[in-house]
Symmetry: C2
Subunit: 462 residues, 2 copies
């Protein structure tokens, strides 16, 4: 039986697969720091070589930033199977603060922990370990069957952790080459360690930076305190007024294009074992702080938000300085859902802030990213096929879930290439991605490979 | 006539007096920066030598920080005249940002400007130029009369710009030596360039630093945005709620001990040529932002305030990071008036902030300075004598004014030595103290010396 032998091969090859991952993890491919430019090249070279060893026609493709790795491989002759694209990213987050790591982030190792063996190192979960689950599944398939089950295009990025500046232009310039029937993306997580997940709803993201100016220069609060407009107080009022007492965002028109959740999906979510108290308990909190009339999963998956990510103004050093500052600034981001229009919300937000300003204040805005939410086409048969395949591998049935974060790549595939995407990943909440001591469960790595073998089989069964 | 000859001597000696001041200004006695410790010693030495040349028994007195300069001189025998203390400070503010200075801050010079000649350099107005107005007046008096008109104790500090850590202990240890009949303090300004002022109301200062903690660590706003408590939003709400719509501070009990202004003084203030629009216009503002039912002078002189001097939290660097931070912090200061009790207000403020916190938030407080307001005993005859003397020198009659800032020394003299203080100074609003390009008008220096000669004459006329 074709799948069983691939799974057995994956099991017996686990030590070698782990060694290959450790090798890739040793390359410090931090994309955001120019000092690691060569390492990004090395990681791309490593992947080109590894894909080539699988019979993939792979190459490193230059961009103004770090290179893309693109590879193509044919499937068996004469079968009517989909042409799949696989996406992952080989770049990793910076590692500071380095002193909070228990080991060199780029000297990865297998560690025994109370919860089982983990692969510890920067990029283990985000995203090198994840992308290798797919490549290893392909390797086992190729070894057992001499060819992959379908035509596959590999598309590996090196700038995901630094805003993907080259991604859209590259996709536009190479649209024909990259267009397949379906994209598989491995950069997400499990619902919990025993419940696999397909992410079918992604929140969009709108970033705004605002600078409120009052006096023309910093003033002494003795001389001017009381009579002069203080931009920190103005900014605080603006922020305090962005939500009402029920936790709803007050920006006019904000909820346009935000329907209530489909009752069937809501029922599925209500059936998931999600306790806001324990989800929040892990970060020292106990009560959901969002819209008072929405469940915890709705708050993080299907409801839009407005958060302040940074604020600063005046004197922030040691001791005290009685300055009355000229400016106060904040970075504010919105998570968007369903059909919310980021550019319309940007406009409405800016007008709303303007309308709240007292006399003698001005505001300047600087826009950061603006991406719509992503909603997957779960009515396509491939989604139920993949869901069943994942359910076969793991203790619990796979779930369609939302994702609070933004993974713009899925939207790009849809918009630029007209291609649907399926987001499957094996990360866990405690993987510490973007933080010190990042890890990937060895079990996630192993069963991740097995999951992909099952998904490939299910999608190409014909 | 004894005063006229002193005034003439001051006039003829102006070039030499200016040279002496330039010499003192060349010593970079920045008290807050340990790199300038030796310079503070040199400034103290310079003053000891200069006072000694006047026949003052002066010496440098060690403290755990920078030294005090203390000197004593006798007046004429057998006259019933007050024993005066003169206070000033020889330390200066740091000079950064250095690139905003048009010349080396410690290479002072006389410059011609559209408004007349100025002495440009760090410390010219705050406080070396001011303290020298008094010493030069004494020098001229001594030269003309062979002795000063009364017994004078000189008390010059070197830590005023860095919080005066040694001041209170030194005063306590040397209380007997320092106790006189009246203290003269030269560290304040004119009401305007033609109207001299005696500061008779000083606002007190209470500093509080608060840290609001929500989640135990920084979170990703994709994963937790909406459901997790954001301390920046909590802090913003707290700050927004510290004032009501009329600009009044909402801290319970805040206005205890704050009477309405004495009608006579209010009438005097209303008669002063103060246009909030032009006061604010110089710093790019146009409308008073304080209590809506109080005049501009009340807002800055006799009403208490609550201002935010600094705020920070989350990601404040270039670009965008969708962090949901664990902590948000602010530095808040209160200017206090009349009988407001700083410690009671601190307690009330802390309880009030606590009461505003939503679930899952904690707050830590760190107290900075806490000083009461200072109210001078203007009913003492010496005040009217000095006011007349100043009025004789300048185009406009001298005014009793308030001061928005805090000059704790006056309170210390009262509390520790039981001695009233009189604050007379010749600074102007455009002196740029604490900022680049500090200056002192040559006219202020010249007429300041003449003013002191007149005040000395008036207070010792008998």
């Amino acid at each position: 039986m074709s799948l069983e032998s691939v799974l057995a091969r994956i099991d017996s090859d686990l030590p070698a697969a782990t060694d290959r991952l450790l090798e890739l993890l040793r390359i410090p491919s931090i994309s955001t720091d120019p000092a690691f430019k060569d390492a990004c090249q090395s990681a791309a070279d490593w992947l080109v070589a590894d894909l080539t060893s699988l019979g993939v026609r792979a190459s490193k493709r230059d961009t103004p930033g770090h290179p893309m790795v693109v590879g193509h491989v044919e499937g068996p002759e004469g079968q009517d199977v989909p042409h799949l694209l696989f996406y992952g990213h080989y770049d990793v987050q910076p590692v500071d603060p380095l002193n909070l790591w228990d080991r060199d982030p780029f000297d990865p190792a297998i560690e025994d922990t109370a919860k089982g063996k983990v692969i510890r190192g920067r990029g283990a979960a985000d995203d090198k370990g994840q992308l290798m689950t797919f490549i290893e599944a392909c390797r086992a398939w190729k070894a057992e069957h001499g060819a992959l089950p379908c035509k596959i295009t590999f598309f590996l990025e090196g700038e995901e952790e630094s805003g993907s500046p080259s991604l859209v232009p590259f996709m536009q310039e190479n649209a024909e080459e990259l267009t397949c029937d379906l994209a598989l993306i491995c950069d997400t997580g499990m619902f919990n360690p025993s419940t696999p997940a397909l992410v079918t709803m992604l929140r969009g993201l709108l970033g705004e930076e605002l600078t409120i100016t009052g006096p023309a220069k910093d003033l002494h609060s003795g001389m001017y305190g009381g009579i002069a407009r203080n931009p920190i107080r103005v900014l605080s009022s603006v922020i305090a007024n962005l939500h009402d007492a029920e936790g709803r965002v007050t920006v006019p028109g904000f909820y346009e294009g935000v329907p209530d959740l489909d009752p069937e999906l809501k029922a599925q979510w209500d059936g998931l074992d999600f306790e806001p108290e324990s989800f929040l308990g892990e970060v020292g909190l106990s009560q959901p702080a969002g819209e008072t009339d929405r469940s915890g999963l709705e708050q993080i998956w299907s409801r839009p938000t407005c958060e302040v990510n940074g604020i600063w103004g005046g004197y922030t050093g040691e001791g005290f300085k009685t300055v009355l500052p000229s400016k106060a600034q904040a970075k504010i981001s919105f998570r968007l859902v369903f059909q919310q229009d980021p550019l319309k919300i940007r406009e409405s937000f800016r007008a709303y802030v303007q309308s709240m300003l007292p006399p003698d204040c001005t505001v300047d805005f600087h826009g950061h990213g603006a991406s719509s939410a992503g909603i997957m086409e779960t009515s396509a048969p491939s989604f139920e096929q993949a869901r069943q395949a994942l359910s076969d591998e793991w203790p619990e049935a796979a779930a369609y879930v939302g994702c609070g974060g933004s993974i713009p790549i899925a939207g790009h595939f849809k918009k630029i290439l007209g291609m649907d995407a399926m987001l499957i990943g094996f990360g866990n909440d405690d993987d510490q991605i973007h933080s010190p001591n990042e890890k990937y469960d060895l079990n996630a790595f192993h069963k991740g490979m097995r999951s992909w073998a099952r998904v490939l089989e299910a999608l190409t069964r014909g």
